[in-house]
């Protein structure tokens, strides 16, 4: 330890190892945590149209409109020292004649560390267009809406957790022909 260079070298190596140990500690202390929380979803309005899919392949497809309410208290079990942000998304899952499994994200939100974590949203409209791949929404008895979240840590595993509380709704048998939404 008698030159500036060797001192700088050991200092650098030491700080690197400490940072690596801290990062590993962050990861291992939160790796096996259960991050599920009860969620309350309620659907107030469902409407169906049949138009050309202007977001992609230009075929006539079913377009669904859902208005929903959402409430959940996500602070306690989820946010800890290793969570940087939560990516929340509301997804609709259903089966049709042409596809055995369809999943569409209707709405999403990013909740950063330190932001308000009580969710209480009313009369929300979907953020993304709910187009089906074809005409499978009409008279579909079972569309399940689930709120899930992707936990983004400071360092470590990126789990996808589904909230425990989902709601199933049927779609109407006829298309809406008026210009309302």
């Amino acid at each position: 330890m008698n030159t500036v260079l060797s001192r700088a070298n050991s200092l650098f190596a030491f700080s690197l190892s400490v940072m690596a140990a801290l990062t590993f500690g962050c990861f291992i202390t939160t790796a096996f945590k259960d991050r599920r929380v009860p969620v309350d979803i309620h659907v107030s309005k469902v409407m169906l149209k049949n138009v050309d899919d202007f977001t992609g392949p230009r075929e006539r497809s079913d377009l669904g409109f859902i208005t929903f309410d959402l409430s959940a208290d996500i602070l306690p079990p989820i946010f800890d020292w290793n969570v940087k942000q939560l990516f929340l998304y509301l997804s609709a899952e259903y089966a049709t004649k042409s596809n055995s499994l369809n999943q569409v994200v209707l709405w999403d939100k990013i909740v950063l560390r330190g932001e308000n974590t009580k969710l209480n949203l009313r009369d929300m409209k979907s953020k993304y267009f709910f187009f089906d791949d074809g005409n499978g929404l009409r008279a579909n008895k079972n569309i399940t809406l689930t709120l899930s979240w992707n936990v983004v840590p400071n360092a470590g595993i990126l789990p996808l957790v589904a909230g425990s509380g989902h709601v199933s709704i049927p779609f109407p048998e006829t298309y809406e022909t008026t210009k309302s939404y």
Binding site: K84, Q85, Y89, Q103, V104, V105, L158
Partner: protein, 179 residues
């Protein structure tokens, strides 16, 4: 034992040193290669560790963050997952989130992606006329994350002089060490 006796007799001592240096170096390189290939097999992905190159997934991932990927067949692609994919004909991998999936009975799946920080989905990025991504375009699904470490790779790509300088110093260090 017999061979060692022969080598020490017929090789002058500095040649022996150099020979061992080269062997050592070769061992290090081949161990690193074995670890990398082993990771590829375990995770099922052709590129198990990637560096995030763009800001389209902020504030979750910034340029320079490292992602650990898996691509196992028994893990189906579902919405909300972060996938790393390549568009046909382009070699830069893109890290975005799955927005929509349509899967058939036999397992054929087509899906749409969008970056968290982008206002629209990725159809503008896909090939002309391509509306969906398929399993074959996927390099892997992001399962783990470490911040900032990949900055070195980005620096080396953006400033090639830095890359040559680092390689030169490494080479020099290996040759000069122990003399």
């Amino acid at each position: 034992m017999y061979l060692y006796f022969e080598i020490t007799h017929f090789f002058p001592s500095f040649c022996l040193q150099l020979y061992y240096q080269v062997l050592n170096f070769g061992m290090i390189v081949s161990s690193a290669l074995m670890i990398w290939k082993g990771l590829m097999v375990v995770t099922g992905s052709e590129s198990p560790i990637v560096v995030v190159l763009s800001g389209s997934m902020e504030p979750a991932f910034h340029r320079g963050d490292l992602l650990f990927l898996t691509n196992r067949v028994e893990d189906p692609i579902r919405v909300g997952e972060i996938v790393v994919f390549r568009i046909e004909g382009r070699e830069i991998p893109i890290v975005h989130r799955v927005l929509k999936i349509h899967e058939k009975e036999n397992g054929d799946i087509k899906f749409l992606t969008k970056g968290d920080n982008n206002a629209v989905d990725d159809r503008g990025l896909y090939k002309q006329g391509q509306h969906w991504l398929e399993k074959k375009d996927v390099v892997g699904r992001a399962r783990g994350f470490v911040p900032y470490i990949g900055i070195v790779t980005i620096l080396m790509n953006d400033y090639p002089k830095f890359k040559y300088a680092v390689l030169f110093m490494l080479g020099l260090f290996v040759l000069v060490h122990r003399e």
